[in-house]
């Protein structure tokens, strides 16, 4: 009896595993196809029938770097993203701490943060463009960094605040009565405790800035366009070089996928701004 129910269970598990292999293969097909396109000769992609089995090549990557100059886009993306992430975390962490532990209210600021988070980017696109023009900051790293920092601060404060809230308030109260200043409590006690959450927030901001498209479209032309913007270049190009597009898509999407995997434990909390744990 016992063995047969155990075999039954194993069989069921095996069947569901098989089912998931098929479902995942179908569901992820667009992604797989994208990756394959990057490693396949362009003519094989648009030939009919499409080649599922082909001789892999790095021609797309070669074209991408030697003809398209894609390294410039990747470097721009890396610079803008890394600088933005550092600034966002640096500015948001103290605010998140203060709103979690020091202030009992701070209600107006919390509502302002939520509204700032929810307002669609395109709603400030035109004035941001006009102001950047007036300040002669079009097509610069600074402009992209400033706007990306501002756009991500509300999210970062809100999420980090939820991590700070997990620290029990008596810890801070004890430290304060022992004579610690608020800044010491923040740097010496709180930061080490929420380091994981802070890293997770940094990764989410990284993904957000790395994927950002609209402000790059509005604010940049030739000097500081980022990698997502290169996709638009491919689109308007006559006679698309699909192997290069596939290679570019692979290079742009891989870092964010890897980061998401690393941070999977925090994904739910991050995606819902801390409202689901």
């Amino acid at each position: 009896m016992a063995t047969s129910s155990k075999t039954n269970r194993t069989t069921r598990k095996l069947l569901w595993t098989l089912f998931w292999c098929v479902l995942a293969f179908i569901y992820l097909f667009p992604y797989t196809w994208m990756v394959l396109t990057g490693f396949r000769h362009g003519v094989d992609t648009i030939s009919m029938p499409p080649r599922f089995i082909f001789e892999p090549t790095l021609a797309g990557f070669k074209h991408l770097f030697e003809v398209t100059g894609f390294q410039k886009y990747i470097i721009n993306s890396a610079v803008v993203t890394i600088v933005s992430v550092v600034l966002v975390i640096g500015v948001s962490a103290p605010a998140a701490y203060a709103l979690a532990h020091v202030s009992r209210r701070g209600g107006a600021l919390l509502v302002a943060i939520l509204i700032a988070r929810i307002i669609p980017a395109i709603a400030i696109g035109v004035p941001v463009y006009l102001i950047a023009t007036r300040l002669h900051q079009l097509d610069t790293y600074q402009a992209l960094v400033v706007i990306n920092v501002a756009v991500n601060i509300p999210f970062a404060i809100w999420l980090m605040r939820s991590f700070f809230m997990e620290v029990h308030p008596t810890l801070r109260e004890a430290a304060i009565s022992d004579g610690c200043s608020e800044w010491q409590v923040f740097t010496k006690i709180m930061l080490p405790l929420v380091l994981g959450g802070m890293l997770a927030t940094a990764v989410f901001v990284f993904i957000g800035v790395w994927n950002e498209f609209l402000f790059a479209l509005i604010l940049t032309t030739s000097v500081s366009p980022t990698a997502p913007l290169a996709m638009l270049g491919f689109r308007t190009q006559y006679g698309v070089q699909w192997d290069a597009v596939g290679a570019a898509a692979f290079l742009v999407s891989t870092p964010v996928i890897v980061f998401a995997f690393i941070m999977q434990r925090y994904l739910v909390q991050g995606m819902t701004m801390g409202s689901v744990k």
């Binding site: 598990k13 095996l14 569901w16 595993t17 089912f19 998931w20 569901y27 992820l28 667009p30 992604y31 196809w33 994208m34 648009i46 030939s47 009919m48 499409p50 500015v91 103290p94 203060a98 709103l99 020091v102 202030s103 509502v111 700032a116 929810i118 307002i119 669609p120 980017a121 395109i122 709603a123 400030i124 035109v126 004035p127 463009y129 920092v149 501002a150 601060i153 308030p169 608020e182 790395w210 994927n211 498209f213 609209l214 997502p228 996709m231 638009l232 689109r235 597009v245 898509a249 742009v252 998401a260 995997f261 999977q264 994904l267 739910v268 995606m271 819902t272 701004m273 409202s275 689901v276």
Partner: protein
Amino acid sequence: MTISQTVPRDGIAVRRHRRIRISTVVWFTLPAAAIMALVLGVPLVYSFYYSLTGWSLVVPGSDQDFIGLLNYTDILRSSEFWASIRVTLIYAVVAVSLECALGILFAVLLNLEFFGRGLFRSLMLIPMVITPAVVGIFWKLLYEQDSGVFNYLLGTLGFEPVPWLSLTVALASVIIMDVWQSTPFFTLIILAGLQSLDRDTVSAAQADGANALQVFRYLTLPHLVPYIMIAAAFRIIGVMADFDKIFLLTLGGPGNVTTTLSVYAYNTGFKVFDIGRTTAISWIYVVFVLAISAPLIWRLFRGASVNRH
């Protein structure tokens, strides 16, 4: 847990603490608040001012042209605007409903027992994080009518090729693309809900003779409702602001069948260069989105004020 807050302190200490508190809160939040005010607040105010002018970049001197609410009344009377509202609403309602349904299904399936469950849970997240601009350009390749792989696969199954990016089908194609990318978001959150479901309650119900369907209908689903609501609320806000994917796939076309509010605002600003009008659209857009997301803002805010230790 809340002892430290309820133990009364002597008046002097409380007053001293409060004064310190106010100034630290200000110093700790000032940099972030200042950046938000300058970089997000100022443009919004600017844009409200521009929306009352007839400023067009192609008409010199028109930025001084103060025309009151004319832009707003014009927009509310234009058929293009209402067409974009219609597209946005169809896109939002259909995409989010499908994502909800598929998300529940995938979450339940991922919650079963099978080998490599963790791996599949990870793999199914991939679409969610791919750069939207990349998704847009790539689905354009998949959707190509003559050389696209979708039509090839349909052909091998014996179906006629579908004109994916044509007048009649394009909006559906945009929705399918978004369902593909955003269903994992629902799966992720609903799966978190499933994992927090108390197993003992389920076993008790089963012991009382409830079948799988009854357990799902009367135990699992009610438990999942708040998770579904949160996911849907976040996704609705996301859908409202969606731009990159649609822009890369269709540029809002053909005609204006996939021109959502965001694409419409972009085109008015950066193709027609009508500043007065596009800022007015932006303001209508902001009010529209805030009205729709008010319940979520309220929920998040209330949650934030109560979930202390």
